[in-house]
Amino acid sequence: MGNALEEAPVRRPAAPAADHLPALLLGSVFVIATCGLIYELIAGTLASYLLGDSVTQFSTIIGAYLFSMGIGSWLSRYLGGPLLKWFIRLEILVGIVGGFSAPLLFVLFEYVTSFRLMLYTLVGLTGVLVGLEIPLLMRILENRYEFKDLVSRVFTFDYIGALLASLIFPLVLVPQLGLIRTSLFFGALNVVVAAVALYRFRETRTYRRRFSSGIVVALLALSVGFAYANRIMTYTETLAFQDQVIYAKSTLYQRIVLTKNDRELRLFLNGNLQFSSADEYRYHEALVHPAMQALPRARRVLVLGGGDGLAVRELLKYPQLRQIRLVDLDAGMTHLFQHNEMLLKLNQGALLNPKVQVINGDAYQWVRHDTTRYDLLVIDFPDPANYSIGKLYSTSFYRELDKLLAPGGLMVVQSTSPYVARQSFWCISHTLAAAGFHTIPYHTYVPSFGEWGYVLAGRNGHWRGDAGPLPQGLRYVTPATMREMLHFPPDMAEVPTDINQLNNQVLVRYFEDDWGPYTH
């Protein structure tokens, strides 16, 4: 009987049960079309999340996907034999490949170096399989309809499916299910189409049992994936964060993670919050303006660290500055803040400004060899959590900075929290004093961080909080705020500390003591 079926490839399938079967197939066109577009959207979204630059990502993903669909359509001509069997087989395959695409890409992203190669391979494979579907269905339905009806109906359902997909994806699926579950869910839908076709067409009897087990295994795998989606996300570290992770990348030096919710964007480096878009202006205004307003004739600024460009954004509010040089170790970081759309909006393209020179290099190395004199040095390093970073808070480092300071110049150092890490904060201040600077410690409240401290340092004590005009449009720093920032209530008041030197990194030990109770 198998022979009888296989020798009639183009004839209409033997005795359909009833007329609603073509309708069933048209219904499956609708489902297939929805699934197909969903996979494309998932790949595009995922690529934008992970690689940034959504325009390029969506554009190239759609292109690659459509082109692969074209290859699939072209390949469909080589499929002979019982078309329904091919169709069922194809649906199972699409379900597995498309369904697992998102979890697979998330996991691969962490480990592979040329993620793009893997991404486009997977997109291409899904595209080819999806591209086979519609031509195959049209051939199956060929003799049930007039050609004009066939084309009209198939494409109508195809496009309606596309519309549905494009609407529910951003509005329902991503917020409710997340990318991984969406992907797995639509994979399962594809497999269900295969199952329905398998049970509703009589000519599938001969291979029903074999395919059934395939379908069961595929559905089971997809459901397990669905149930364990959280685990997969944990595996990809993303659940370590409260909000949805929209970007994660391990560079040579650190792990960069961006998370997003309705209100804010957060940047984490190695799991430590660097800023929240909701209140970072407080941190960065307080970092830059107290020093800058006192330097009306400043021409050159050196920023060490601060690869997010947010401090530079504040600096650019002073038209008298001619050159801002930013030295950040991590090219992955500055590249992200020069290319990612959301982040460019946040830093107002600061790192692309012609006045700004971005150097990816080691800060210590840089200051030892730089011979320029700067009016302001902005030191925005990560907290002194290890002995390597601790060297950037040592008397030796500050003495190197002294050589870079123009007469009358100032420097400002982010100095961790004077409330949580009181010893650490005052240790930084005392270390700067030991390196020969007059210091002006101050602090501010940043809701997402808590109390945060800075130390302003210069060769003389001439700094004044009301020296110059502040730029228009600041949201936090005013002369009154600056006065407040200088006042340290008793719970943050100065404590005696040792001086942080290269051969005795007391700061790292203070920092461990200070933050220990908060992290254990």
Binding site: T56, S59, T60, I62, G63, A64, Y65, L66, F67, S68, M69, G70, I71, S73, W74, R77, E110, Y111, V112, T113, S114, R116, L117, M118, Y120, G131, P135, F147, Y235, S250, L252, Y253, Q254, L329, D330, D362, A363, Y364, Q365, R368, N386, Y387, S388, I389, G390, K391, L392, S394, T395, S396, F397, Q501, L502, N503, N504, Q505, V508
Partner: protein, 626 residues
């Protein structure tokens, strides 16, 4: 007919369909192509990346393979333990899929069960050593060519180690410029030899100098010239260059699976042992402050400045181990630690060195600086190569490297020395008015075999050492203090390893060079030396990695280069009776104002300060004789 018509229509439809299909295909293709062109660029870039960094892609597949492999291994615990198939993934991967699996795969037992080639096949490196081939020609001077040229010099220094360089510098500073120095090796510096690769400079031998005693004026002057002392504070204390003072964290000990701060065992040490350790250090503090009847410090560097009070000197007659037994220091932890200290400074164990020397190690450290204490040390990526280079730089002219002095004969006007140039294969006859031998005693003895008057003293104990420099791209480790300057493994035969990148102020440098030190003290020196010369490169690497794997499971795949240096005669050991017995002064005494002697062997303690001092002492004798 209708059927025929239908058939035609059907055929036509088919053709039309085909046509549309092709057109659709074409349109799809064109759309696809437009998107695809951008995409192609990306892919082309990716391919470039792939081509240039083929390793990274291979790594990707390795990671995938690891993932499956790890899973399979976890799921099927009964399956045979994987042999040599482990592919090193990234650190994150190791971290997350369980250090356990990695540790199991890399445990030393499994390493041995593997074919040696496969687990270490990626490690490149070579076996090196002080110029043994040229040096051993000294044993057969008759086979060396007859001199083809002659040369005159006022002073000839044989040996370009720290003592020779120090003597040369001293003579130069005192107006003696007609000085020629012969060095057997390609580079001067002796035990302060160093190397350099793309990651870091690194030491091949001595690698630090404790903050010196401020009474050691010559040494302070030298350090001032070298830029290690940047000035003096109001109280006259030297201000040390912060980049030269060893950066924190300085020392850690791997004990009971944990890295503790400092080298004196503390973690998991029972109270009884702790009280013995405390008692020992209290005793040392007494010795540190003790003065003899002659008013001199009981223990000082240079040791010739120490008191001659017999109360202290008699400690030189017994071994340190015997002394410790007498004082009832029986704690295994303490005894291990003291053995470690003796190996570290003398290349010998507590049972081999005198009690005076054992105590001197601790009690002679009396340095103080404006920004440093006696416990602080000065170090450089290239180790004491920094000091040796600075010594040389201060009197750089007149050094002949790759040159072996092999015969010394006394003449009425001084001495004649035959010197073989290893790279040219020729010999020069050098006529010198005075000769300063800054060579180890076993070489001095051989050189002077035709010169009468030299006391017949058995050469002192010289232990062989193995030093390995490993370039690593990560250091997997258990809990405790992070990588420090000096890293010691409790219970190990080695004296641990030093981080050559400790003074590096750069951030996020994954690659590092660590220098592993191993004095071969298990057998008597001659036997250990012969065995060391017979050991192959691969055997050294196997042994060193097996040792490191105990504290750093999974380090093997992270080692990129391993270079091994075998020091046949590493350093002199102060065996009982040698420091304050009759031989040392006799060996150091000049011969008829023609031959002068400088070497740390003449101190009996092989540290920079002693070699530096011996060089100056011999140079002063030479100047006095002029």
């Amino acid at each position: 007919m209708p059927n025929g018509f239908q058939a035609v229509r059907k055929r036509f439809r088919g053709v039309r369909n085909d046509f549309r299909g092709v057109r659709n295909d074409f349109q799809n293709g064109r759309n696809g192509f437009r998107g695809g062109r951008n995409d192609f660029r990306d892919v082309r870039n990716d391919f470039r990346t792939v081509r240039s960094g083929f390793r990274t892609v291979r790594n990707d597949f390795r990671i995938t393979a690891d993932l499956y492999y790890g899973l399979a291994f976890l799921l099927m615990p009964d399956s045979p333990a994987p042999q040599c198939t482990f592919m090193p993934g990234r650190r994150e991967f190791l971290g997350r899929t369980g250090v356990g699996v990695a540790g199991l795969l890399l445990s030393p037992a499994l390493l041995e069960s593997c074919a040696p080639a496969s687990s270490r096949a990626h490690i490149r490196g070579s076996l090196r050593g002080a110029n043994k081939a040229t040096g051993h020609r000294l044993w057969h001077p008759d086979k060396l060519p007859a001199p083809t040229s002659t040369r005159q010099t006022d002073v000839l220094i044989i040996g370009g180690g720290v003592a020779g360089l120090s003597a040369k510098r001293w003579l130069h500073r005192h107006g003696h410029h007609d000085v020629l120095l012969l060095e057997l090796d390609q580079h001067t510096g002796g035990n302060s030899a160093s190397g350099q690769n793309e990651v870091s400079a690194y030491p091949w031998g001595a690698h630090y100098l404790p903050v010196p005693d401020n009474r050691n004026q010559e040494l302070l002057d030298f350090l001032r010239e070298a830029g290690t002392i940047t000035g003096f504070d109001a109280a006259g204390l030297p201000i040390y260059n912060d980049y030269h003072l060893c950066h924190d964290p300085e020392e850690r000990l791997h004990i009971h699976g944990h890295w503790q701060n400092g080298l004196v065992p503390e973690l998991g040490v029972p109270a009884e042992d702790r009280s013995q350790i405390a008692r020992f250090f209290a005793l040392i503090e007494d010795f540190r402050q003790a003065k003899g009847a002659d008013g001199r410090d009981a223990f000082r560097i240079p040791l010739d400045e120490s008191s001659s009070d017999p109360r202290f000197r008699e400690l030189d007659h017994l071994s340190f181990a015997t002394y410790l037994d007498q004082q009832e220091f029986t704690s295994d932890y303490l005894r291990w630690y003291l053995d470690y200290c003796c190996k570290d400074d003398y290349g010998a164990r507590a049972r081999d060195v005198s009690a005076w020397a054992g105590i001197h190690y601790f009690a002679a450290r009396k340095g103080r600086g404006h920004n440093a204490s006696g416990a602080d040390v000065l170090t450089w990526p290239q180790g004491n190569g920094f000091l040796a280079d600075n010594l040389r730089r201060q009197a750089a002219a007149g050094i002949l490297a790759n040159t072996l002095a092999y015969r010394v004969q006394e003449t009425p006007s001084g001495a004649t020395v035959l010197a073989y140039h290893a790279d040219k294969g020729t010999t020069t006859r050098i006529d010198a008015r005075r000769v300063l031998l800054a060579t180890p005693q076993f070489v001095t003895r051989r050189l002077l075999k035709d010169v009468p008057g030299r006391p017949a003293v058995a050469p002192p104990f010289h232990a062989p050492w193995v030093v390995a420099n490993l370039t690593i791209d990560g250091l997997p480790q258990g809990p405790g203090q992070p990588l420090s300057w000096d890293n010691v493994l409790y219970g190990s035969a080695s004296v641990g390893y030093v981080n050559a990148n400790q003074q590096d102020v750069r951030q996020g440098t994954q690659q590092k060079v660590v220098t592993f030190y191993w004095p071969l003290t298990e057998a008597p020196p001659d036997q250990a030396r012969r065995q060391a010369y017979r050991t192959s490169y691969d055997e050294w690497v196997t042994q060193i990695l097996a040792e490191l794997e105990t504290a750093h499971p999974g380090i093997t795949p992270r080692v990129q280069r391993a270079d091994v240096w075998v020091w046949g005669h590493g350093m002199v050991a102060p065996t009982p009776g040698f420091l304050w017995g009759p031989d040392r002064p006799r060996l150091a005494a000049p011969l008829r104002n023609t031959f002068f002697f400088a070497h740390s062997d003449l101190s009996g303690i092989s540290i920079f300060e002693e070699a530096f001092y011996q060089g100056i002492r011999a140079a002063r004798q030479l100047l006095d004789a002029s």
